[in-house]
Symmetry: none
Subunit: 409 residues, 2 copies
């Protein structure tokens, strides 16, 4: 039997943009010199994707759920569970998960730095934080990259209906956690979180790494800011759902966490950082090796395009897109459908996510090519995919690769 | 009052395709010389239709339900009821219907030919099969074209949750019918079907037509293969639903069965065979006569395009499309909107249905013409209808012909 076409899915975070006046009214994607993306568009089919639906500004979590085939209105409970899965905490459905920042607070309890002096590695704190004993819940804690981390509370009678302890701004005191509804579970969880916060401050103040940081003239990581509460949802297994054995390559742990929540294998490659210095080439090469080794689909995530959108750096965003393009010279691999898109637009003038639809292209065996021969927001408007939704991406490539199921007879 | 615009709906089964390498990357529809379809596209509006939704491979039954304005997720129960309606059995909601093949089995009960030596007319068996008496159900049976037929069980406490008796392959024994759930109704229906199967074999073995066939050196039609169980659904009347008095012309009984289930009148014309030898011209002429006689809509079904897709015959599929085009010279009739599409794609390389959307065109009075001037998968990508769903076809042409209802005030 002929082997079925495989799928390489590349999501460039925040890929879409808006016309930039100083770029002659072109978007960073349109102004970038992208011979490989243009060739893939010319040999493929393009379109525009509303990740959720027109006029909804997608967060990265719900955006990835939708593009990977899950209705976020059914499975999304908050960002915490994906942060926790991303740092490698083994979750159980029903756990309450939070995203955390290590921060610096002064003696009066005022947050002086929400990133604890941009601490590089907070993992030495994991043991003392995880050892914190609470009245009614078990603590699971892991630091992530830089100042980030994730907290999980496990126990009976907990709720995700609790407000953040993160004041969101510097110069303000740590917030007290408040329940968001009238249930005893929310009241109980707020109480537990306030207890955790106090005990974490004590443990961190006394930690030798903070003594060392103070001695080095650095800000201490002496508090944990908590937000993004979510009850860990049951997310059906991706392979069972779509009959695709899938792996994920992502420098940023959060996206790997989303993939891990779906049961995908997470593969790390040297040089994939989730930052501007990421090596897109090794991610693509790594993905091709995984496809050769028997995976049906590999999902590669590139974060830097979004960061540059948030920073409003249009020229740098265009340059990053050119670096992604360089890595696509040998694409698509034989017998593979390449699917490339963003999870949402992050226009440089807005320095934030927007509801503008994102260009998407599919190139490889079985594709009905269209007349589009460059990749960009405006060329994609006349593409053969038309305007699709994020939730339709997986069904569409299952159809092209001959893996879709028949309904009826 | 001016007479309302009428509708001629032509569904060419399996019309859509994919680029064929040996045809210079064109599809059979694109490569075919179709001056009439191109003229209709130039004077009309085109688009692409996902019969169900992107990434769903439509079976012919659910595809026709959707295009004719019924949500298959609401009314579809299985193929059997449409086969039964197609051969002319008068159905009642709640009947359990099956599609059947006459087959040849040897003395050991092994199926040696699933089509009973390609028997031309099995209707002489109707009386003895219909006379079979079962413990708890009434039998209604009719042969269809060639080896095909339909069985209906009528009675209290029956279920469609029963597996097939058809082994699907030659060289295997007739399967025993098994219940598919734990209900007493399913167990009872399975038992009744096994009883029917045994009695049908006895009755067929002893039938004079089989003695004659054996004497002529032909395979006997001495068993009935049963599959496609479905409880006869309540399908709301098409004329009541859409205020269109409608008729159907189809060479293949199954499609007429779908139309009959909706209450459409079924009209037979000489030369409409459901096969490659069908006379498309007489179908179109017949349809025009029906529109003259007072029908508001006529649905014409052409099967051969699908057969050639299943057989992988791209050149022949293109030639069949040219024959269809020849029949469209005088189209559309005055005061009539012509709507032409397929029920799904059947790409020759896949030899099966696919999820690729199907081109659709509407041409006639009241249409907002677009810039598309040829009919094909790729020209339709930029058409004015955009990308629509099967369930939107009837509402769209009701709108164009001024028959749609106002919502609000």
């Amino acid at each position: 039997m002929k082997e079925k076409t495989k799928v390489l899915l590349i999501i460039c975070d925040g890929l879409g943009g808006r016309p930039v006046e100083s770029m002659g009214g072109l978007t960073p994607l349109e102004v970038a010199r992208t011979p490989n993306l243009d060739r893939l568009a010319a040999n493929g089919i393009s379109g525009l994707m509303d990740t959720i639906r027109p006029g909804v500004v997608p967060g990265s979590d719900v955006a990835h759920l939708a593009i990977l085939g899950y209705d976020p209105y059914e499975v999304y409970t908050g960002r915490g569970p994906f942060e926790a899965a991303g740092v490698g905490i083994e979750l159980k459905a029903g756990d309450i998960a939070f995203r955390c920042n290590f921060a610096s607070v002064d003696d009066a309890g005022i947050v002086t730095d929400r990133r604890a002096g941009r601490i590089k590695d907070a993992s030495p704190f994991d043991d003392v934080i995880s050892a914190i004993e609470l009245d009614d819940a078990k603590v699971l804690f892991k630091a992530g990259t830089e100042h980030r981390g994730a907290l999980v509370l496990r126990g009976e009678g907990l709720s995700a209906a609790v407000g953040p302890l993160d004041p969101k701004k510097e110069g303000k005191p740590l917030k007290e956690c408040k329940p968001l509804d009238d249930t005893p579970e929310a009241a109980r969880t707020a109480r537990i979180l306030n207890q955790f916060s106090a005990k974490a401050r004590e443990a961190l103040e006394a930690h030798p790494l903070n003594e060392q940081r103070r001695a080095d003239g650095k800000l201490p990581a002496n508090a944990i800011l908590i937000r993004g509460a979510g009850v860990v949802p049951h997310i059906p297994d991706f392979e069972e759902r779509f009959e695709l054995k899938a792996a994920c390559i992502s420098g940023a742990a959060f996206y790997a966490g989303i993939a891990r929540s779906m049961g995908m294998d997470i593969v790390t490659v040297d040089g994939a950082t989730g930052g501007l210095d990421t090596d897109v080439g090794v991610k693509i090469t790594g993905a091709c090796e995984l496809l050769d080794k028997g995976y049906d689909m590999v999902f590669v995530h590139v974060k830097a395009t979004d960061n540059l959108g948030h920073d409003g750096k249009a020229i740098e965003k265009a340059a990053m897109i050119e670096r992604i393009d360089d890595a696509l010279e040998a694409m698509p691999p034989e017998g593979t459908l390449l699917v490339l898109t963003g999870d949402h637009s992050t226009p440089c003038e807005m320095k934030n996510h927007s509801a503008d639809p994102v260009p998407i292209l599919m190139s490889g065996p079985g594709v009905r090519t269209d007349a589009v021969d460059t990749f960009g927001e405006r060329p994609a408007m006349t593409g053969g995919l038309g305007r699709i939704r994020g939730i339709e991406v997986v069904p569409t490539f299952l159809g092209i690769t001959g893996r879709a199921k028949k309904y009826g007879a």
